[in-house]
Structures are given as C-alpha cells and as structure tokens.
Symmetry: C2
Subunit: 491 residues, 2 copies
C-alpha cells in the first residue's frame, strides 16, 4: 500500500527489478521465514518458561498459603511505613531519618515471629550500644586535636570492626547475635566516621533510634497480628510430623520386603511411603534454625516462655539416629541377593509385628508431642514392641533347623533328628545373609526407637506435659487414642 | 584516727556505745564479710568467664588463622572507606552518600570471595534495576496529579514488595538471589516513597550507585588481594578431607571390632579415629552453601570458571550414603551381644582386608581429587576391594560348618563328616547375628564406596582431571603414589 502511494506521489521513484531477483526474493523469503520461525520459537520458549515458573510459584503458594500471606504482610508493613512520608506531622517529626524506618522494615521482617524478634532486638540493642560507644569515642577524638582525631577514629573503627567480625566465628555468638554484630559494626563505623559535631550526633542518634523503633514496632505488630507464624510451633510440628514419617516409613520398608511378590500394583505408592525417613535425615538444618529463633519468642499457645526448645533438637537427633539405621535397612532390602521364600515366610509375621509395634510406639509419642499430653499407653506399647523383639529372637533361634531343612527333606527330618544329626544339604549362608541383616537392623531400629521414646520422655518432663489421669487410663484404651489425636488438629 | 581528731576539736561530740553494740558490730562485720565474699566470687566468676571465652576465641583463631585474618581484612576495608571522609576531593564528590559506601562494605564483605561476589553483584544489580523502576513509577505518579500520586506509589510498593518477598520462597531464586531481592525491595521502597522530584532523584541515584560501586570495589580488592579464601577451594578440600575421614573411620571401626581385646590401651584414640564418619553425616549444609557461592567465583588456581561445583554435591551425597551405613555398622559393633571369639577369628583377616581395601580406594580417590589428576591405580584398587568382598563371601560360605563345630567337637568332625552329618550342638544364631550383620554391612559399605568412585569418576570427566600417562602407570606403582600425594600439599 505504502509503495503504491509513494509511486503515485513522486515521479522519481522507480521499482528496479534486476536479473536474478526471483532467486534473491526466494532467499529473502526463506530468511524471513527462518527469522519468523526463530521469533516464534523464542516467544514460545519465553512463554513456556514463564508458565512453568508461574506454575511452580503457584504450587508453592498452594502448598503453603502462609508464604503468600507473608508476602502480603511485608507489603502491608512497608505501606504503613510509607505513610510516614505522606502524613505531615509524622514527617516533620522524623522526616529525614524515615529512611531508617523503611530499611528496618525491609531487613527485619522475617517469616516467623522468632526471626522478627531476633533481628529486631539485635538491631535495636546493637544500634544503641554502638551509637553510644561511637559518640563517646568521637567526643574523645574531638578533644585531642585536629591531627590526632582521624587517627583515633580510624584506628577505633579498624580495631572494633576486626574484633567484632572475628567474634562471629564463635558458634554461640554466631547463633544468637550474628545480625546484631553486623549492625554494631555498621552503626559504629557510620557514627565514628561521620563529620558531625558531638551535639549534632546526639540529636541524630536520638532520631535514628526513634525511627528504628518505629520500624521494629510496625514489623512486630504486623508479624504478630496478621496470621503469625511461630518458629517454636513450626519446630514442634516438624518434630512430630517427622515421627509420623519415620513410623510410616518403617512399616513401609518391612512391608515392601516381605510382601514384595504379593502386591506389585501398589508398590509405587508403598515405596514412596517407605522413603519418608529421608526427610528426617535432611531436617537437621531447619530444626537448628527454628530452635534458635524459637528462643526469642514469648510464650504463645501452649508454649511457655522457657519452653525447652533445645530438647527438641535432642529428639530430632534421636530420630536421625533411627533414620540412619533405616537407611541401611533400605539398602539391605533392595539388595540383589534375596533370601529363599520359605525362610522369609518363617520370619515374616514376627518381623511385621515388630515393625508395626515400633511404628505404633512412634505414632503414639508423636501424638503425645502434638497434644502435649503424657501418653497413657506408651508403656504398654513399648512393652509390646519389646515382646515382639523377643518373639523375633525366638523365631531366629528356631532358624538353624530351618536353615538346614529344605521342604523336601522335611519328611526325613524326624528320623534324622533322632540320631542327633541334621542333613548336610545346607542353604548357602550367603543367601540368607540379607535376611539376617534386615532382621538384625530391624531390631536395632526398635532399640533406637527406644532412644526416641526416652528423649520425648525428657521433653515431657521439661515441658510439663499434661499428666495422665490414671483412673481414666485404666478404664479404656480406645477413647484415649481419639482424645490424643484431637488436639493435633488444633495445633 | 578521724574520730580522735574530731573528739579533740569539738566538745559536743560524744561516742555513744549502747548496750548490745558488740553483737551488732559482729553482725555488721559478718555482713561485710559476706558482701566481700560475694563480691570476690562475682569478680572470680566474671574473670573465669572472660578467660574461658578468651581461651575459646584463641583456640578458634589458632585452629584457623584465616578467621583472624578475615577480621583484619574487614577492618582494612572499613578504614579504606573511612578515608573518603577525610580526603577532601573525594568528600566533595560523593560526600553525603558515603554512608552507602560504608554500609556496602559492612554488609557485602564475606569470608569467601564467592560470598563477596554473590552479595556485591546482587547488590549492584538489584540497586540499579530497582532504582530505574522506581524512578519510572515516580515519574508516572508525578504526572497523575497530587491526589493520585500517593496511591500509585503506595500500591506499587505494596505489590512489588509482596511479589518479591514471595519469590524468595522459590528454591532456585532463594539460593541465588536472596540478598538481591532484599536490596531490590529496599531500594525500590526508598526511592518510590521519597519526596524528591524526578530530576533530583536521578542525580541522587547516580551518586548512590557510584558510592555502592566504590564500596563493592574496595570489598573485592581487599577480599581477593589479602589472603583470599575461595569457596570453591574450600568445597574441594572439604570433600577430599571427608573422604580421608571416611577411610580412617572405616578402618578404625573394623579394627575396633576385631581387635577389641588386643589393644585396650590404644582404644580411646582408635575410637576417636573411627568416629570421623560423623563429620560426613553433618556436612551437607556447608557443602550446599559453598557450592552455591563457588558458582559466583571466577577461575582461580586449578579451577576454571565453569568448574562443575554441583558434581561435588553428588560426591558428597555418595559419601553420606556410605556414612549412613557406617553409622549402622557402628551400632552393630557396639552391640551388647558379641559373637564367639573363634567365629570372629575366622572372619577377622578377610574383614580387615576388605576394610583396608575399601579405605585404600577412598584414600586413592581422595588424593586424586586433591591433586586433580586421574588416578592410575584406582582400577587395581577397586579390583582388590572386590576380590576382598569375594574372599569374604567364600569365608562366609565355609561358616555353616564352623557354626556347628565347637572347638571340642572339632576332633569328632572328621568322622561325622564322612557320614554326611554335622553334630547338632549348634551355636545360637542369636550369638552370631551381630557378626553376620557387621559383615553384611561391611560388604554394603564397600558397595557404596563404589558409588563414591563413580561420582568421582564423573567429576574427573567434567572437571577434566589431568589424564594418566599410561606408560608411566604401567612401569611402576610406588612412584605414582608419591607423586599423587605431593600436590595435595600444594592445594
């Protein structure tokens, strides 16, 4: 269209069609075609990447809506702080320093209340101590003459920054005051190095501390009032959820091993269930950090101010100790060499009973932790688990006979046994080794479950779990299970 | 003395000594005594606490002097930044914004070069993108009238802060851009919410980006030039050190088990050595963070820019997989039930050979990783390890006879065996179970060592380890060992 118009308007314009133009145009159209294909592909890739990213983000949000809420909370806190810039009286009061309020909100706002308090308290204390110290040194420096002043200030910054940075490598300090030390160095350097006079500094420090306090206050109010996430409660739930996973996993592993041929269809879901112990293996880092933050939290819900959070770490360690053994059991179950079917059959029922017994113990203490009530039936369940261990040992004791007794030779056995002899057609020990190992590890796992029970027992004492009403406990067992499950939904 | 003088000077003055004063004075002196004791105790406690803290800090510094050096480096960087305040021309240039340079140094300076680069790049990119975006929105808002302006600004802060905060929950983004997102939110909020006009903003942004660049440059220069600590090299050393620990631990465990009675004196040191695998169990977090930071580092020493850091994580996972099994082995070795001595003796030599074989394999790949040279003898060593597994299996196959042959019955055996019978005086299977389990786990450990070898093989391919000179390799084995050990000291 444009070319036609131009041709009509201007005589000078001519379309020149040199020879070979058809070929060139073909080339050109090929080129255009390629470029178009490339562009479409590019757009498609970008769209698919964005879509998959969006799906991923959507899944994360759907799995834990609190993460979305956290985003909204940060938005609210920042919007509240930005009000300081638009409301006149506030502006006049803290105006120029409102920068610090915004910065405080951005840096201090954390997912959990404990995280918020940890950073808020660290920031407040570090700012005030470092500020005071710096003003003091500034005052000394200002009295000692213009030439000495920068030397005093620079060397004090050098020494304090070096010492404070090194102190971050001390584990206890790192765990509790890491953020505070950063802020300490920052505040001290800024104040000591600034060119202000001491009286100006005092006024500035006052305003700055005030704005930081406002920032921290806004953070805490929004963090605590809008759907709070407590680090302590998270830790509490993580530990009890991990116990359930261990229990399921143990049942699943033993079932996988002994019922392998029976259910091929359900195997995938069963195997997934049996791999839950892996979560326990990898949860040390989150347990540590949550216990660390939980210390900063005031009492909330069922947890007092001095709730023994460090004991949860011991329970976690006992569970991991259990999970290590289950990992070895898993390896042994998936071993290439499998014991003969009749040997497995001999031990199947006792092994299943033991795994079920251990799993019941784990589930019981899990629900006891969840509800923060002493368990009524734990003694009975541990007793049952130990009985199952003994039964398994009895079954093992009767194995040497089985070991040497092939089904065909069974008829012979009676006569031979009278002569105090067994037939020498022994099954290779290599064949039964994985079975022995599995059984032995199963017994070891149940022993380590005992360790978890002990750790939870100490937790129950330290955290003053609600004691059992012995009258009720003896009257019936079923209602207790229902009761102990109920509060878990409330948590 | 004072009372005498006063008595001489003033007649009015009289010392009144009421009845019971002796008792009161005694009480008072008791009180003073108590207070003094308490004060002394307090001082002692404080002194002892400070001393123990100092000792702890001293030990940390002595164990790893780089931590002390890091403190000094931070001091140097901060002192360099503070020069901006005392050097006139520089002051005039970036003066009021030097705050940002100090802040950048304090916040960006990390222990490793990777950490420094991660934070520096994140800070620079986030500041510039957020600044540009905020200036754009500010401009739009300023055009839309005084009433709409705060609404546009506040809602943009709310939306962007919420979205950015939520994006931190996406694992990939969290791992690479966590710090950048904080700075993005901070910069955007500060700029969008500030009361400046757009042209003022542009000048401010320019100065601020300039000061941040100066801060980052000082950080990087000090971090790289003064005894740099590379996250990649740390990861590299951690992984190869962990392999050595696994190797020692495996040897130690098996020695502990089979030589328990032989050396009671050396047991403590031996047990300590055998517990090295626990370090491997707990090193996931540091491996992850170091691999994460190593990605930001340019090529250094023997490591190229695209060094396959993520493969180290796979090697680490394979080692942990090994360590889980060793943890179960440890439990089994410390079991209360111990196999009869003559049974243990039967398997001792083959088990020791297997543990030594596996340990040699681990040490060989460790030195191969350290020196970044393909190993010459790994095939031979793995072959030896597998031979040892087979030997152990042969020894196990000959066990059923041993199982039923008490030393006393040994003489009888020959006659009985002719009749194809074994005596029915069987040793309880329960007694030998821990031995079987230990042996079985030992075999499993050696299999998992194979997994570590494979992971290191992949690493060797990806990281282009120096290939073997086959001529040299075939000529002798001893010099190769020496050679492969040498570079480990250089690393």
């Amino acid at each position: 269209m444009a070319t036609e118009k131009e041709a009509q308007g201007g005589l000078e314009w001519r379309v020149s069609v040199p020879e070979g133009s058809a070929a060139e145009m073909e080339l050109e159209s090929k080129w255009i075609h390629r470029a178009r294909t490339w562009l479409i592909q590019l757009v498609m890739t970008v769209v698919s990447k964005v879509t998959s990213f969006g799906k991923k983000a959507g899944k994360i949000g759907a799995d834990d809506p609190r993460k979305v809420i956290h985003g909204v909370k940060v938005g609210i806190a920042l919007t509240l702080v930005s009000l300081f810039y638009y409301t006149r009286p506030l502006y006049d009061g803290v105006g120029g320093c409102a920068l610090w309020a915004v910065m405080t909100v951005v840096v201090v706002f954390e997912f959990t209340v404990g995280g918020c308090l940890y950073k808020g308290i660290n920031r407040a204390v570090a700012t005030s101590t470092a500020g005071t110290l710096a003003v003091g040194i500034h005052w000394i420096a200002s009295k000692s003459g213009e030439k000495v002043e920068p030397i005093i200030l620079s060397s004090s910054v050098f020494l304090l920054a070096s010492a404070a940075t090194f102190s971050r490598f001390i584990p206890n300090i790192k765990a509790r005051f890491d953020y505070g030390i950063t802020i300490f160095i920052l505040t001290f350097s800024l104040v000591a190095v600034s060119g202000y006079r001491v009286d100006e500094l005092l006024r500035l420090a006052q305003v700055r501390i005030c704005t930081i306090a406002i920032g921290i206050a806004i953070c805490l109010v929004v963090c605590v009032l809008v759907r709070p996430v407590w680090a302590g409660q998270e830790l509490h739930l993580l530990v009890s959820r991990n116990m359930d996973k261990l229990a399921d996993s143990l049942e699943g592993l033993v079932e996988d091993y002994f019922m392998k041929d029976k259910k091929v269809e359900g195997e995938v879901s069963c195997s997934q269930r049996s791999q839950g112990y892996k979560n326990v293996l990898n949860s040390k880092a989150s347990e540590d950090s949550q216990a660390n933050l939980a210390r900063w939290e005031p009492g909330h819900g069922k947890f007092g101010f001095k709730h023994p959070w460090s004991q949860y770490l011991k329970v976690g360690a006992a569970m991991r100790y259990c999970a290590y053994c289950m990992e070895a059991l898993n390896g042994c179950i998936n071993s290439e060499i499998q014991a003969p079917e009749h040997m497995k059959r001999h031990l199947r029922d006792v092994c299943m009973r033991l795994s079920l017994g251990s799993s019941k113990v784990l589930k019981e203490i899990s629900s006891s932790v969840k509800s923060m009530k002493e368990s009524r039936s734990i003694q009975v369940l541990v007793g049952e688990m130990n009985d199952a261990v003994e039964e398994l040992q009895v079954a093992l004791r009767s194995l040497p006979k089985q070991l040497t007794q092939s089904p065909a030779a069974a008829a012979e056995a009676a006569t031979i046994e009278k002569r105090h002899c067994v037939p020498a057609t022994t099954i290779s020990l290599m064949e039964v080794m994985p079975l022995f190992t599995a059984v032995s590890l199963l017994i070891e796992v149940s022993e380590r479950v005992g360790g978890v029970v002990d750790a939870v027992g100490t937790l129950a004492t330290l955290a003053c779990f609600e004691p059992i009403d012995h009258k009720k406990a003896s009257s019936s067992v079923v209602p207790q299970d229902e009761e102990s499950m109920k509060p878990s939904q409330e948590v």
